[in-house]
Protein backbone atom coordinates (compact mmCIF):
# COMPACT_ATOMS: atom_id res chain seq x y z
CA UNK A 1 0.00 0.00 0.00
CA UNK A 2 1.42 3.34 -0.97
CA UNK A 3 1.09 5.32 2.19
CA UNK A 4 3.72 7.84 3.04
CA UNK A 5 4.57 7.05 6.62
CA UNK A 6 7.58 9.30 6.79
CA UNK A 7 5.91 11.71 9.18
CA UNK A 8 3.75 9.16 10.96
CA UNK A 9 4.75 7.14 13.96
CA UNK A 10 1.95 4.60 13.99
CA UNK A 11 3.30 2.70 16.97
CA UNK A 12 3.23 5.92 18.96
CA UNK A 13 -0.29 6.74 17.76
CA UNK A 14 -1.52 3.29 18.75
CA UNK A 15 0.10 3.61 22.17
CA UNK A 16 -1.67 6.95 22.71
CA UNK A 17 -5.01 5.53 21.64
CA UNK A 18 -4.62 2.61 24.01
CA UNK A 19 -3.69 5.03 26.74
CA UNK A 20 -7.05 6.75 26.24
CA UNK A 21 -6.63 9.29 23.46
CA UNK A 22 -9.30 7.68 21.30
CA UNK A 23 -9.64 10.66 19.00
CA UNK A 24 -6.28 9.77 17.47
CA UNK A 25 -7.84 6.66 15.96
CA UNK A 26 -9.50 8.88 13.34
CA UNK A 27 -6.08 10.07 12.18
CA UNK A 28 -4.53 6.63 12.39
CA UNK A 29 -6.98 5.08 9.93
CA UNK A 30 -7.36 7.95 7.48
CA UNK A 31 -4.68 6.72 5.03
CA UNK A 32 -6.33 3.28 4.90
CA UNK A 33 -9.95 4.21 4.27
CA UNK A 34 -9.66 3.63 0.56
CA UNK A 35 -7.82 0.33 0.67
CA UNK A 36 -10.19 -1.16 3.24
CA UNK A 37 -13.13 -0.16 1.07
CA UNK A 38 -11.55 -1.66 -2.04
CA UNK A 39 -10.93 -4.94 -0.28
CA UNK A 40 -14.50 -4.98 1.02
CA UNK A 41 -15.97 -4.19 -2.39
CA UNK A 42 -13.96 -6.94 -4.06
CA UNK A 43 -15.90 -9.38 -1.93
CA UNK A 44 -19.30 -7.80 -1.34
CA UNK A 45 -20.08 -6.71 -4.88
CA UNK A 46 -22.30 -3.80 -3.90
CA UNK A 47 -21.50 -0.41 -2.44
CA UNK A 48 -23.79 -0.58 0.58
CA UNK A 49 -22.53 -3.96 1.82
CA UNK A 50 -18.94 -2.97 1.15
CA UNK A 51 -19.34 0.20 3.17
CA UNK A 52 -20.90 -1.77 5.99
CA UNK A 53 -18.02 -4.24 6.00
CA UNK A 54 -15.51 -1.39 5.96
CA UNK A 55 -17.15 0.30 8.95
CA UNK A 56 -17.31 -2.97 10.90
CA UNK A 57 -13.67 -3.69 10.10
CA UNK A 58 -12.54 -0.30 11.40
CA UNK A 59 -14.63 -0.75 14.55
CA UNK A 60 -13.30 -4.26 15.16
CA UNK A 61 -9.76 -3.04 14.65
CA UNK A 62 -10.40 -0.34 17.23
CA UNK A 63 -11.82 -2.80 19.74
CA UNK A 64 -8.99 -5.26 19.18
CA UNK A 65 -6.27 -2.63 19.04
CA UNK A 66 -4.72 -3.93 22.26
CA UNK A 67 -4.09 -7.23 20.47
CA UNK A 68 -2.04 -5.49 17.81
CA UNK A 69 1.52 -6.04 18.93
CA UNK A 70 3.37 -4.54 16.07
CA UNK A 71 4.43 -7.95 14.76
CA UNK A 72 2.77 -6.99 11.49
CA UNK A 73 2.30 -3.61 9.90
CA UNK A 74 -0.89 -1.90 10.99
CA UNK A 75 -2.05 -1.79 7.34
CA UNK A 76 -1.59 -5.54 6.94
CA UNK A 77 -3.35 -6.26 10.20
CA UNK A 78 -6.23 -3.98 9.25
CA UNK A 79 -6.66 -5.57 5.85
CA UNK A 80 -6.78 -9.07 7.33
CA UNK A 81 -9.52 -7.92 9.72
CA UNK A 82 -11.40 -6.56 6.71
CA UNK A 83 -11.01 -9.82 4.89
CA UNK A 84 -12.29 -11.80 7.87
CA UNK A 85 -15.27 -9.50 8.21
CA UNK A 86 -16.11 -9.93 4.50
CA UNK A 87 -15.79 -13.71 4.78
CA UNK A 88 -18.01 -13.74 7.86
CA UNK A 89 -20.72 -11.78 6.04
CA UNK A 90 -20.58 -14.01 3.00
CA UNK A 91 -20.78 -17.13 5.12
CA UNK A 92 -23.78 -15.75 6.96
CA UNK A 93 -25.46 -14.65 3.74
CA UNK A 94 -25.22 -17.99 2.02
CA UNK A 95 -26.86 -20.83 3.93
CA UNK A 96 -26.18 -22.83 0.78
CA UNK A 97 -22.80 -21.55 -0.32
CA UNK A 98 -22.51 -20.83 -4.01
CA UNK A 99 -18.76 -21.01 -3.75
CA UNK A 100 -16.50 -22.31 -1.08
CA UNK A 101 -15.35 -19.26 0.81
CA UNK A 102 -12.75 -21.05 2.87
CA UNK A 103 -11.39 -23.14 0.10
CA UNK A 104 -7.75 -23.83 0.82
CA UNK A 105 -6.83 -26.50 -1.71
CA UNK A 106 -5.26 -25.34 -4.92
CA UNK A 107 -7.55 -25.81 -7.85
CA UNK A 108 -6.09 -28.15 -10.42
CA UNK A 109 -5.75 -27.63 -14.13
CA UNK A 110 -3.62 -25.36 -16.18
CA UNK A 111 -4.62 -21.74 -16.69
CA UNK A 112 -3.89 -20.64 -20.22
CA UNK A 113 -3.66 -17.00 -21.16
CA UNK A 114 -5.60 -15.56 -24.07
CA UNK A 115 -3.41 -15.76 -27.15
CA UNK A 116 -3.01 -12.50 -29.00
CA UNK A 117 -0.56 -10.94 -31.37
CA UNK A 118 -2.06 -7.52 -31.75
CA UNK A 119 -2.25 -6.26 -28.17
CA UNK A 120 -2.39 -2.49 -28.02
CA UNK A 121 -1.88 -1.02 -24.63
CA UNK A 122 -5.01 0.29 -22.96
CA UNK A 123 -4.09 3.75 -21.66
CA UNK A 124 -5.06 4.57 -18.09
CA UNK A 125 -7.29 7.37 -19.41
CA UNK A 126 -9.63 4.60 -20.53
CA UNK A 127 -10.54 4.28 -16.85
CA UNK A 128 -12.46 7.54 -17.15
CA UNK A 129 -15.07 5.41 -18.85
CA UNK A 130 -17.46 3.63 -16.54
CA UNK A 131 -17.79 0.54 -18.69
CA UNK A 132 -14.05 -0.06 -18.54
CA UNK A 133 -14.06 0.20 -14.75
CA UNK A 134 -17.00 -2.18 -14.60
CA UNK A 135 -15.28 -4.73 -16.85
CA UNK A 136 -12.27 -4.74 -14.51
CA UNK A 137 -14.28 -5.05 -11.30
CA UNK A 138 -16.42 -7.79 -12.81
CA UNK A 139 -13.33 -9.78 -13.82
CA UNK A 140 -11.98 -9.55 -10.26
CA UNK A 141 -15.31 -10.76 -8.91
CA UNK A 142 -15.15 -13.78 -11.20
CA UNK A 143 -11.97 -15.02 -9.53
CA UNK A 144 -12.63 -17.61 -6.85
CA UNK A 145 -11.95 -16.31 -3.32
CA UNK A 146 -8.46 -17.77 -2.82
CA UNK A 147 -7.26 -16.12 -6.01
CA UNK A 148 -9.26 -12.94 -5.56
CA UNK A 149 -7.83 -12.16 -2.12
CA UNK A 150 -4.26 -12.62 -3.33
CA UNK A 151 -4.87 -10.61 -6.50
CA UNK A 152 -6.55 -7.75 -4.64
CA UNK A 153 -3.85 -7.58 -1.96
CA UNK A 154 -1.02 -7.66 -4.44
CA UNK A 155 -2.27 -5.95 -7.60
CA UNK A 156 -5.03 -3.67 -6.33
CA UNK A 157 -3.69 -2.74 -2.90
CA UNK A 158 -0.07 -3.18 -3.92
CA UNK A 159 1.11 -5.02 -0.84
CA UNK A 160 4.37 -6.93 -1.22
CA UNK A 161 4.46 -10.72 -1.55
CA UNK A 162 5.54 -11.04 2.09
CA UNK A 163 2.88 -8.65 3.39
CA UNK A 164 0.23 -10.52 1.42
CA UNK A 165 1.46 -13.81 2.85
CA UNK A 166 1.38 -12.42 6.39
CA UNK A 167 -2.14 -11.00 6.07
CA UNK A 168 -3.53 -14.21 4.61
CA UNK A 169 -1.42 -16.53 6.81
CA UNK A 170 -0.13 -18.46 3.83
CA UNK A 171 3.46 -18.90 2.62
CA UNK A 172 5.07 -16.49 0.15
CA UNK A 173 5.37 -19.44 -2.24
CA UNK A 174 1.62 -20.00 -2.14
CA UNK A 175 1.07 -16.29 -2.75
CA UNK A 176 3.20 -16.48 -5.89
CA UNK A 177 1.44 -19.57 -7.22
CA UNK A 178 -2.02 -18.11 -6.63
CA UNK A 179 -1.03 -14.72 -7.94
CA UNK A 180 0.29 -16.26 -11.13
CA UNK A 181 -2.95 -18.15 -11.70
CA UNK A 182 -5.05 -15.11 -10.83
CA UNK A 183 -3.16 -12.90 -13.26
CA UNK A 184 -3.46 -15.47 -16.03
CA UNK A 185 -7.20 -15.77 -15.38
CA UNK A 186 -7.52 -12.00 -15.45
CA UNK A 187 -5.56 -11.80 -18.69
CA UNK A 188 -7.64 -14.58 -20.17
CA UNK A 189 -10.91 -12.84 -19.39
CA UNK A 190 -9.87 -9.25 -19.92
CA UNK A 191 -7.49 -9.18 -22.85
CA UNK A 192 -10.16 -10.10 -25.43
CA UNK A 193 -12.57 -7.54 -23.94
CA UNK A 194 -10.06 -4.74 -23.56
CA UNK A 195 -8.56 -5.24 -26.99
CA UNK A 196 -11.37 -3.03 -28.24
CA UNK A 197 -11.06 -0.48 -25.50
CA UNK A 198 -8.61 1.84 -27.19
CA UNK A 199 -10.42 5.20 -27.17
CA UNK A 200 -9.57 5.96 -30.77
CA UNK A 201 -11.27 2.81 -31.88
CA UNK A 202 -14.36 2.84 -29.73
CA UNK A 203 -16.79 4.16 -32.33
CA UNK A 204 -15.87 1.44 -34.77
CA UNK A 205 -16.53 -1.13 -32.10
CA UNK A 206 -19.75 0.07 -30.56
CA UNK A 207 -21.57 2.14 -33.09
Amino acid sequence: MNVDRSDRDEAQMIASILAGDKEQYHDLIRPYERSVYKMALSFMKNDADAEDVAQEAFLKAFRKLADFRGHAKFSTWLISITLNEARRRLRRASAVPMESIDQTAEEGGHVSPALLRDWREVPSEALERKEIREILIEAISHLSPIYREVFVMRDVEEFSIDETAAALTITPGTVKVRLHRARMMMQNELAPKLKNANPRRRWFQWS
Partner: protein
Protein backbone atom coordinates in the same frame (compact mmCIF):
# COMPACT_ATOMS: atom_id res chain seq x y z
CA UNK B 1 18.79 -23.81 -23.93
CA UNK B 2 15.47 -22.93 -25.52
CA UNK B 3 12.14 -22.98 -23.73
CA UNK B 4 8.65 -23.34 -25.13
CA UNK B 5 5.80 -20.85 -24.89
CA UNK B 6 3.92 -22.90 -22.32
CA UNK B 7 6.88 -22.84 -19.98
CA UNK B 8 7.36 -19.13 -20.50
CA UNK B 9 3.76 -18.51 -19.40
CA UNK B 10 4.54 -20.11 -16.05
CA UNK B 11 7.22 -17.50 -15.45
CA UNK B 12 5.34 -14.39 -16.56
CA UNK B 13 3.97 -13.44 -13.16
CA UNK B 14 7.38 -13.74 -11.48
CA UNK B 15 8.91 -11.97 -14.45
CA UNK B 16 6.58 -9.01 -13.90
CA UNK B 17 7.53 -8.97 -10.21
CA UNK B 18 11.20 -9.35 -11.14
CA UNK B 19 11.58 -12.31 -8.84
CA UNK B 20 13.10 -14.82 -11.26
CA UNK B 21 16.65 -16.07 -10.93
CA UNK B 22 19.03 -14.29 -13.33
CA UNK B 23 19.38 -17.45 -15.46
CA UNK B 24 15.64 -18.02 -15.84
CA UNK B 25 15.04 -14.34 -16.45
CA UNK B 26 17.48 -14.41 -19.31
CA UNK B 27 15.87 -17.51 -20.83
CA UNK B 28 12.47 -15.84 -20.68
CA UNK B 29 13.84 -12.59 -22.07
CA UNK B 30 15.45 -14.36 -25.00
CA UNK B 31 12.19 -16.13 -25.76
CA UNK B 32 10.21 -12.91 -25.56
CA UNK B 33 12.51 -11.23 -28.05
CA UNK B 34 11.39 -13.45 -30.87
CA UNK B 35 7.93 -14.64 -29.78
CA UNK B 36 5.15 -12.21 -30.67
CA UNK B 37 2.45 -14.15 -28.84
CA UNK B 38 4.29 -14.43 -25.53
CA UNK B 39 5.26 -10.76 -25.76
CA UNK B 40 1.62 -9.83 -26.29
CA UNK B 41 0.59 -11.98 -23.32
CA UNK B 42 3.22 -10.31 -21.15
CA UNK B 43 2.24 -6.81 -22.30
CA UNK B 44 -1.47 -7.43 -21.83
CA UNK B 45 -0.94 -8.93 -18.36
CA UNK B 46 1.28 -6.04 -17.30
CA UNK B 47 -1.23 -3.56 -18.70
CA UNK B 48 -4.08 -5.22 -16.78
CA UNK B 49 -2.05 -5.14 -13.56
CA UNK B 50 -1.35 -1.44 -14.09
CA UNK B 51 -5.02 -0.70 -14.75
CA UNK B 52 -6.35 -2.60 -11.72
CA UNK B 53 -3.94 -0.74 -9.44
CA UNK B 54 -5.34 2.61 -10.58
CA UNK B 55 -7.32 4.39 -7.89
CA UNK B 56 -10.01 5.32 -10.38
CA UNK B 57 -11.18 1.71 -10.70
CA UNK B 58 -12.79 1.57 -7.28
CA UNK B 59 -14.78 4.70 -6.63
CA UNK B 60 -15.53 5.54 -3.04
CA UNK B 61 -19.23 6.21 -2.43
CA UNK B 62 -20.01 9.87 -1.83
CA UNK B 63 -19.92 10.58 1.91
CA UNK B 64 -18.18 7.29 2.77
CA UNK B 65 -15.49 8.90 4.87
CA UNK B 66 -17.90 11.18 6.72
CA UNK B 67 -20.24 8.30 7.56
CA UNK B 68 -17.32 6.15 8.69
CA UNK B 69 -15.95 8.74 11.09
CA UNK B 70 -19.41 9.61 12.39
CA UNK B 71 -20.03 5.96 13.22
CA UNK B 72 -16.61 5.56 14.80
CA UNK B 73 -17.24 8.66 16.91
CA UNK B 74 -20.56 7.19 18.07
CA UNK B 75 -19.26 3.74 18.86
CA UNK B 76 -15.77 4.28 20.14
CA UNK B 77 -17.27 5.80 23.24
CA UNK B 78 -14.89 8.70 23.39
CA UNK B 79 -15.98 11.45 25.77
CA UNK B 80 -15.62 14.12 23.13
CA UNK B 81 -17.67 12.07 20.70
CA UNK B 82 -20.35 11.47 23.31
CA UNK B 83 -20.71 15.15 23.99
CA UNK B 84 -20.94 15.92 20.28
CA UNK B 85 -23.28 13.26 19.19
CA UNK B 86 -25.22 11.46 21.85
CA UNK B 87 -27.71 9.45 19.87
CA UNK B 88 -28.33 6.94 22.61
CA UNK B 89 -27.70 3.79 20.53
Amino acid sequence: MVIECKHVWNYLSDYLDDSLSPETKELVQRHLEHCEICSAILDSTRNIVVLTADDRVFELPVGYSERLHARLAREMGGDAAKAREDTGD
